[in-house]
Homo-oligomer: 349 residues x 2
């Protein structure tokens, strides 16, 4: 079985974006009462949005289950306040739940959080709990920079984040460290901000004792771990210079990288330097790069092909990357898909 740990609903029906645009437009008029309101999307619209994209690619590429979350670049936690983020997150998560209910064999949910700049992340506990307990989600996307490229929040290792981590541990769900769009002209979203955030988070984890305080806390660093595997020697050396534990020890049960690296030499490097136990298959499909690589004739983000092509990696190791590690990192996968089959959005609310 092949589990893709990194998929976003980038193809959601237009009504979702229309609602968001109206919400943002409403921010200009303080007399407008902010309400969650409703979004009308039919089951058929959802089916159409997936059949020609994520589901088609799952079939073509031979992957089975996608751990699915709202479009990351659209989270835009820097817009509005915590209420704005909550309404938006609820809608996005509800839609993911409908996807998972319509296609319980193909998708399992990971939630967007109602983060907002300057608001302690404890405010996200309610939505995390709702998504996990009521909607059957198995994890969340945690934005280390809700300001969208200004990096005004404390590092992920600061006690500021601890109340949220306590809930993650209690619910036994991991977080993917995932920023959203950038409102800083220096940072292209998918080409710089995403990758920088991955690198930044890793170095924060390296320099602090977060996992002594939370031995069961688990993070997935997406996009192949940012720059980290390429600079694995630098990070091993920095850990040593700073009297920190060896990297392999430091990340063992707490930090994981996905395989969203869009060429074979990059994937080979990842597999060479990072312990196989810390790598989860992911594609970010449909996401950052949508084209076909003229050098291979295949989609850049068809990352399964790269892993398949690595002949020196054994079958057991590949099984860990494709399935086993995901089951360890997302233990709530054990309930999937039976619990979802018996659940509908109506019952869950």
């Amino acid at each position: 079985m092949i589990i893709d740990c990194h998929g976003h609903y980038t193809t959601a029906p237009k009504a979702l974006q229309t609602w968001r645009e109206a919400q943002i437009a409403g921010l200009k008029d303080p007399s407008i009462v902010r309400s969650k309101g409703t979004i009308k999307i039919s089951d058929d619209e959802i089916r159409q949005s997936l059949e020609s994209a994520q589901l088609k690619f799952q079939r073509e590429r031979g992957t089975d289950l996608t751990i699915f979350s709202p479009r990351a670049s659209a989270m835009a936690h820097h817009i509005g306040d915590a209420t704005v983020s909550l309404h938006w997150a609820e809608h996005c998560n509800d839609l993911i739940h409908r996807v998972c209910t319509l296609y319980p064999e193909n998708f399992v949910g990971v939630c967007q959080l109602p983060q907002s700049p300057g608001v302690p992340p404890g405010n996200c506990i309610g939505e995390l709990q709702r998504c996990v307990k009521e909607l059957g989600f198995i994890g969340c996307n945690l934005n280390p920079d809700p300001s969208g490229g200004h990096w005004t929040a404390p590092p992920l290792t600061d006690r500021y984040w601890y109340p949220f981590y306590e809930k993650m541990v209690e619910l036994d769900v991991p977080a993917m460290v995932h920023v959203s769009s950038s409102c800083n002209a220096n940072f292209h979203a998918t080409g710089a901000h995403y990758i920088n955030a991955d690198t930044t988070a890793f170095m924060q984890f390296l320099t602090a004792d977060l996992f002594k305080d939370f031995p069961a806390l688990r993070f997935i660093i997406p996009h192949g771990g940012g720059a980290v595997p390429y600079h694995w020697g630098r990070y091993r050396g920095l850990a040593q210079d700073l009297n920190r534990p060896p990297l392999v020890e430091l990340i063992r049960t707490n930090v994981f990288f996905d395989t969203c690296v869009y060429h074979l030499p990059g994937i080979e490097l990842l597999l060479k330097v990072v312990p196989v136990e810390n790598i989860l298959f992911g594609s970010e499909m449909v996401g950052a790069v949508r084209g076909i690589d003229p050098e291979t004739g295949h989609y850049f983000d068809d990352t399964k092909r790269y892993i398949d092509a690595v002949t020196w990696l054994g079958a057991e190791e590949k099984r860990k990357i494709f399935e086993g590690n995901a089951r360890r990192v997302y233990p709530r996968l054990a309930d999937w898909p039976l619990s979802l089959k018996n659940r509908t959005l109506g019952q869950a609310h």
Copy 2:
């Protein structure tokens, strides 16, 4: 001949740092008249600071010439104003010039710039010109984020930077894109801020037409290009999705990566994906990582060993990386070292 394009004077005699600390302390008292003052360092102190470090490593590792600049993390452009930065840059550059005068065979200078947050980089033209014309320097370090981790300046592709680029082109000197220390708690300097800046700059170059406006402008992106070679497929795909030229075309005569990647698999990846013409040997010695790799028994930053170990790279290709490319990117190397031999700091001023 082996030219190391990336060395900093991280071992400068204490008097330099003492002067800087007094300068910073003086900022608290507005009644103090800001003056450049003098720093007393003897030639013997300079010799000692190098003989046990950079010169020793040059000999041990078999490299010949280091393109040498002031300690990058100490530039700290975010401290004080443009005058503070100018006095500090002048002292640092003068000291580099003394190094190059004492050891003309071993070092050639690259200058620190008197950048300051909110001050257009045109203010750095004078110091660049002084260093190139009077001190025989062959390039500069350009900080894309003088705010030290808050990223408040416009992207490097903005017209804000153009007056400075005009002078670079006129003098025929390249810039290494190099941030300094971080005053943002999110970013560890050498483990996150440096690498992020490299990735950020590359994506800025990818998305703009800077090199149409300045066909002769040349940048070295240090630390192996940040995350870029590891994500070469992602960047090729983004360029394609954004209707930009292919990466190889985009960087051909304008963007170069050094080899400051501290393990063999990383160096192999760099050499596999980036055209050999765009790679310059560099070690960042003595710099970010000072320890010995327990896996190899050699210094992490002895990057020559990794390149030597790549058997599939031909002698001619290695010659380009070790020398030829540096001579193309830093054409003023053609004057080295004769011009320096006839010059002293006294005459130059």
